[in-house]
Symmetry: C2
Subunit: 538 residues, 2 copies
Amino acid sequence: MSDSQSPDQPQNTGPSKSELKKLAKAAEKEKRAAEKAAKQQELAAQQKAEADLDCATSFYGALPLNQSQSRPRRPRDKIADLSSRVGEIVVLRARVQTSRAQGNKMVFLNLRQTTDTVQALLTVTPEKVSKQMVKWTAGLADESIILVEGTVTKVQEPIKSASVSDVEIHVHQIHLISGIDGRLPFSVEDAARPDTDLETSDVQYNRVLLETRLNNRIVDLRTQTSQAIFKIQSAIGDLFREYLSSHGFIEIHSPKLQGAATESGASVFKVGYFKGNAYLGQSPQLAKQMAIAADFERVYEIGPVFRAEDSNTHRHLTEFIGLDLEMTIEEHYHEVLEVLDGLFLSIFRGLREKYTKEIGVVQKQFPADDFKWREGLEGTLRLTFREAVDILVEDGVRREDLDDFSTENEKRLGRLIKAKYDTDYYIIDKFPMALRPFYTMRDSEDPTLSNSYDFFMRGEEILSGAQRIHDPAVLCEAMRSKGVDPESMKPYVDGFRMGCNPHGGGGIGLERVVMLFLKLNNIRRASLFPRDPKRLEP
Amino acid sequence: MSDSQSPDQPQNTGPSKSELKKLAKAAEKEKRAAEKAAKQQELAAQQKAEADLDCATSFYGALPLNQSQSRPRRPRDKIADLSSRVGEIVVLRARVQTSRAQGNKMVFLNLRQTTDTVQALLTVTPEKVSKQMVKWTAGLADESIILVEGTVTKVQEPIKSASVSDVEIHVHQIHLISGIDGRLPFSVEDAARPDTDLETSDVQYNRVLLETRLNNRIVDLRTQTSQAIFKIQSAIGDLFREYLSSHGFIEIHSPKLQGAATESGASVFKVGYFKGNAYLGQSPQLAKQMAIAADFERVYEIGPVFRAEDSNTHRHLTEFIGLDLEMTIEEHYHEVLEVLDGLFLSIFRGLREKYTKEIGVVQKQFPADDFKWREGLEGTLRLTFREAVDILVEDGVRREDLDDFSTENEKRLGRLIKAKYDTDYYIIDKFPMALRPFYTMRDSEDPTLSNSYDFFMRGEEILSGAQRIHDPAVLCEAMRSKGVDPESMKPYVDGFRMGCNPHGGGGIGLERVVMLFLKLNNIRRASLFPRDPKRLEP
């Protein structure tokens, strides 16, 4: 109501000097606002006039921020399926990997979805594709995410730059879903180039160093290679679980926060835990064994393990994924060895059968011989530690240097075995007791040997396992002989006092399996966001 | 040789007084040793004589420590299969849950394998089962692990104390694989008894307190109830993965060690990391989103999450398993909500179809109404936050107290919904923006609301999720408005600068789903080795 006394209204006294100043300021402000509004109107009118000339305004441009405003339920298509959809109109959400304008009437795009790319093409067409639309498209930054509608069209010559090479898309509509803010640290194309191209090509390509990749891991992960690597990593987890589920295993989850520094105190991360401390698990070894003591007959676990080792090598991480299993033994620890062998064969076969495409994508950037293993009656090659030593000695290594295998001798053995047996995968059984942890069961006949084994891929260890000691008295003695105080691991030892089945198991490093199967040469490429002594980000 | 000068021989001088004393002592010691040896010989002879009378010596006794000495490959049988094997001779490895001698000629055993028990019986039988064999068997401690051979025999009256109640085993051979060293903290039978029995029975049973159980978790985990709980936990993981795999998701593993205290600094564990510090991940939230920015279209992760909250309640752990997923959105965040809903329905159906036995085993100790959800056309109940508030207000809660739901009001809402809609499972959508973390996408029309949702089971939250902000400018503004410095989370924010798809997701607490589906009333029962502010062991 007009006569109400608004609190905003000035009191009925004459205006003061400062009030006059304020009023003058306000008037000035209003004037500027009016001028600005007029300018904006003018601009809008101009834009509208231009738009009237542009037949295609509704066919391109940036979409408003998706806040789930609407849901027309229009299905989206996959680049991988396009070859079979010639002549159809499709709608794709994709990245612009690269774009190339040809004059001002045509622009080529290379569109990408995970491991697949396809060529798309805009040409000025009356009432459909305007010059402005082509210009706008040509100006899209690489890695922009767009929504495209177009017709799938057969091409005469295969398009070498695209993974789907027999068709291209003739674009009718193109809208920006998400743009780029700033500059890319490197192009996804450069990141996906094999080293061999850099060495042999006449073109001066940009080499993207591993350090740069890891600092900008999100961009590096977008390469078709990385996309394929992590599909394969995920598949290995699935194959691991499938095989074990079908062999009566259940999945467990053991705590990573532990009350005591276990197994070997030296390489454990310490955590502040309320008013005290905790330690990060180096492996689920003790928990797995306690699960066996608790009558879980066959268990597996997939989870992070932490190693506070200052190892800066191609194959060490401070955090990696352990694929662990433990099972009761009826008669002999070779029951475990056979389950583990069956597991690996099942993983290898599964990858070969269902992931040929992804393996091929990775091989383009990381050329490697296909991974080889022995099948059928012949079966997996099994050597004893002694036999493996003999092979190396025969090749000229001094026996005195072979108390344990160095990384170098491990790889040498791998090459010798590959040459002799034509396999990248083998088992070495019966390691010397001196090389194994305290919980390892001794051989019943030769006390210098143990019921333990390692599995190898391309000359590198990927699994370590053994029969474990299930008798508390024997265990305590073994602990003391390795300098471990049984009292310091009381809950673990007590588990065996309450009766425990004979058992054995093993632990696999997931990233190592990925790296060695695909021959990536550095474990960081097989870890989503790798952690090493010098890297905690991203 | 007799004339050699042994170093042990005394020198050729006369013995001193102290030397004489020593000699006398030695002579005494020798005498005692001789006496002891004689006694032992006598005992052995006696035992041998008894053994000669004992026709059954090879049919019972302790086996030597299994060091994989031999591998006769004799198959072992399962208690669960015995009903169908009447008349057959079987070999079982099992725990002695309890034993009961009847005079000196008969002993009853209750044998256990994971979730199954069966009665076994030894009776003195000429040339087969000796008195000594019965006596030895009767002396076996509860929880001993034995290898038994016997004949499966039909019984007239069902055996109430065994889960396989229509047969018993007439034992021919029984050997000890692993015995008990010391006393059990409580019996497995006591640990498996429902609270209702303690209250209603005339018998004075031992009540096993939760604290005692957790201190001796290995024994507590051996109950049929615990065995069933962890089979169901494992099944939920399988059903989660199966559903998501079949919907185009891949599994990722993100690092738990992080360079900065993310999301909310208050409740993060600090880790010593070489010369600096790291922090344990509170959730894979940021990593999942970075995976989306890196073009992984649909990802899930199963892994530990850490919460340094000093919450000592029935439903908080400091370490638990997060079932997390994140996916791109084409048009609307309800696409995510529908995937999550489909996921839960698939888990519930899978449990009902394949785990009836295990659910039944748990219900014996923890009686509960079967978990209810809505199927078919009706579909899952979805309410908005406002509608949920209205339901509570209608029931008498003051609207002013409902800015957020307290645990109490959450449960009250659960009861009201159960009464009105007959469902234990429902979704609440459109939470106020003020209640959600900075990365939550605002509603496009009402800026006080957000595109976020919680899922509930039996009146407790089990999933929290939302559409996330994928635009770096909007994100930075949201961070600042919640007091988070975008610079402190640079690698995360930078991910969005390189272009990111609209996306959403959610996180589920595995142990909560297990607890609420089975109505275990305390989350510790759903965690293998639970961690809370006061517990880091076992």
